[in-house]
Amino acid sequence: MSDITKQSLTQLVENIKNKKLSSTDVTKAFIDRSEKSEKLNAYITNDFTSALDKAKKFDQKPNLDLKLPGIPMAVKDLFCTKDIKTTAGSKILNNFVPTYESTVTENIWNEGAILLGKLNCDEFAMGSSNETSFFGNVQSPIDKNLVPGGSSGGSASAVAGQLTPVTIGTDTGGSIRQPASFTGIVGLKPTYGSCSRYGIVAFASSLDQAGPMAQNVKDCALLHEVISSYDPKDSTSIDFKRNHYSKELTNNIKGKKIGIPKEYRVDGMPKEIEDLWQKGIQYIKDCGAETIDISLPNTSYALPTYYIVAPAEASSNLARYDGVKYGFRAKGENLIDMYEKTRSEGFGAEVQRRIMIGTYVLSSGYYDAYYLKAQKVRKLIKNDFDEAYKKVDAILTPSTPSSAFKIGEKTNDPVSMYLNDIFTVPVNLAGLPGISIPAGHDAKGYPLGLQIIGKAFDEQNILNIAYAMEEKINFKNKITDWWIK
């Protein structure tokens, strides 16, 4: 059974289509491994019993024309799943059972996949280490007491640890790409408007995007093809012609121009990150593409901008958690007291911190100095990319300024935690697609990732570049199964 969980999504689909494996075989194998992996704390809620029922039902009358025929899949607990508890990693939603399904998960089930369970994440996707979850931190399959990154930490841990063949996460400032980089897997943040936000617990609405996380680029392309769709239920969903990303995937990137932005060479960046970047540049050249030095002059302002825009949007979005309509309610002496106690007891420290920042920057007398200023700088950051894309087809950067850190190492210093997202945040601010691929290891043997940033709606191009580089890099993730007895 164990070799089933080692197979890629593409292989599993092929084996089910060729009837070499049944959905029941595959589902059983992933459930079995998930059950042995409790130490990772990757799941918040499992749905194993009904997953097995669904697999058996699929096998009785298999529809092999689907893209994900009978494939079991766990998803981040930020996606509303009908009749299955959805917590967003928060105490305030610990009893919330949605009566509707998110569009991206609906797309996945419509293609034949089967829900395994809901994966741990930072509370309301606010965090870079999965340590803010009400349900406890997640262990990385890479090493004991190592963070898997965040906020899609349970998702990254589950894919790298082979608890699910692929998964979906969400990315507001790097929450797919940073954990993908920390755990040696592939993660794609699509163009804003590519995947519907309907039914995803909102964090910062102008930045949030759902995206695939997988063992390799081809699997990532296939899952992206399934989740990307125009959806009238999300007013910012964009109606554009979507590719058959997995079918059109090619490693021919000859003649492509790849920008190397000098501003991403930040102070204090470890030498191994710089070396990795240089190796990436060489791989690009080996693939027959050309690298060009470019400038994105406002890069260093991206993180401060993000820490105004994202908390501002979060403070409005999270106003809905008031103990009235759903979720946790604390006892109060009167209505206002009930609101204040519910939110004080229901939200964790990081979420409260961000709501406070957001409330402050939007409050009377400070709006112009902070929020309006940030929106203007956001424009400058987007202009930087627009200017760069006159000369290049895509941009190559490191995914993170360091490899994964130990649990507890950065929890006392919010700013040092925020600095993790220094290379990923500009992409969200500009609404662009970005993909992180595993590209090497540091001295401790921990994975390091490279990020390829594309033009808006140009997912195919960055997937192709990632696919070509993946072949050259030939990365092998070092998974020792340390958590399995």
Binding site: V97, T99, Y100, Y192, G193, S206, P232, S235, T236, D239, S300, Y301, L303, P304, T305, Y307, I308, S315, A319, D322, G323, V324, K325, Y326, G327, R329, G332, E333, N334, L335, I336, D337, M338, E340, K341, R343, S344, F347, Q352, R353, I355, M356, I357, T359, Y360, S363, K373, A374, Q375, K376, V377, R378, K379, L380, D413, P414, V415, Y418, A430, G431
Partner: protein
């Protein structure tokens, strides 16, 4: 700039999150270090820059105004923290 305890209390009122003295002090420390970091934006002159208000440069689609979901009262009430078949219930607001 510096965010003092009085400001923390004011923001916590606006945000409807009750905060005791100990937490208020911790929050003041955290927010000050975060705002020190944010102040970097003041290096930039942005007087003539148009703010970016929408990242997706498309016009919103119109749709006809029709009811799509009917008889979903039960679904809406289902997750209510206090059981009641017909309404959301809150602490008494009128004496």
């Amino acid at each position: 700039m510096s965010i003092d305890l009085k400001t923390i209390k004011h923001i916590s009122k606006l945000a409807r999150i009750s905060v005791d003295e100990q937490r208020a002090e911790k929050l003041a420390g955290d927010l000050n270090s975060i705002f020190d970091f944010i102040e970097k934006l003041n290096e930039l002159k942005t007087d003539n820059i148009e703010p970016l208000t929408s990242i997706a440069e498309t016009t919103l689609k119109l749709r006809s105004d029709e009811v799509k979901s009917k008889d979903i009262r039960e679904q809406i009430i289902k997750n209510s923290p206090q059981d009641n078949e017909d309404y959301f219930v809150v602490p008494k607001v009128i004496e």
